[in-house]
């Protein structure tokens, strides 16, 4: 019975992964490129016409210079395909990390 339930719960992960990948593939085409609420506030309340310029105006110095590999969910020079690839990669990474850490950190099954 326990193994049957485990198998059924694996189906939940598969269903979740399928839905998440469908959203990931559609997101670059459907998502709004308008600034989000926080960025809009930066533009309106700090000024400078754009979020980047507003951030420059604030100009807090960072102790580290770090360049993420796929900034703004894109892969350089790959256009929309790169965006799909970046979001799908992130989704699969999250699936793996959540499952792996869940197994490691979670309650150990008493046999």
């Amino acid at each position: 019975m326990s193994s049957k339930n485990n198998k059924n719960n694996k189906n939940i992960m598969i269903a979740g992964a399928v839905i998440a990948i469908i959203i990931s593939v559609l997101a670059p085409f459907l998502a709004s490129s308008n600034p989000d609420g926080l960025d809009m506030n930066l533009i309106n309340l700090v000024g400078g016409g754009s979020e980047e310029h507003a951030e420059e105006l604030i100009g807090e110095k960072m102790p580290i210079e770090y360049e993420p590999p796929m900034p703004d969910y894109s892969i350089e020079g790959m256009g929309k395909l790169g965006e799909v690839g970046a979001i799908v990669a992130g989704t699969l990474l999250m699936l793996g990390i959540s499952f792996g850490l869940g197994k490691v950190l979670g309650k150990k099954q008493g046999t």
Binding site: N9, M40, A89
Partner: protein
Amino acid sequence: MHIGDGLIPLGQTVIYWLIALVFIIKSLEWARKDLDEMKVPMLAALGAGIFAIQAMNIPIPWGTSGHMVGAALIAIILGSPFAAVLLLTLVLVVQGVMFADGGITVMGANIVNMGVVGGFVGFYSYNAMKNSIGITGASFAAGWLSIFIASLVCAVEMYFAGTFPLKEGLLLMGLYHAVIGVVGEGFITALALNRIMAVRPDVVSERSVPGAGVAA
């Protein structure tokens, strides 16, 4: 409402990291006590789904946009606000480190806003309402409240940082997220919970079923 690096002075980011760490440690304790093997596939499904849906910005008026956070949904399904803290922390680490969505130094503040505030407001408001108005209404309201309150906390942090004036910050962050909360957070939280309840009610925490008592 992902805060980027540079928007909060470094000294203040340390405070948010310390608050976040307290809740992260508590979330690890929750996992060790409550996250049994049956719940791990759901944790993974929610982790992937929340990451994907956060990449889907929905347009709202005033030329702006927003996306679901997902903390209320995680907390309701897995039956603890600490589940939301744990998953939102993982999502924010992946977003910040891989995709430059949300900063690294300010990650503590983002974890506090979306994971802690979103998760706790979502979980306790759902539980306060589930018996009186049912799971659909309660999950919609909990989703809405979770993102609305988180956005107000974010506005206060931006005030302390010297980035936004208090009144305008609260007003605009509140206004934008009140709208995002209806389309993005409330609707999707209620829809997802409804579908999961219809197909596999056994994987939803018994704490979140109407009639059950509330215990964190």
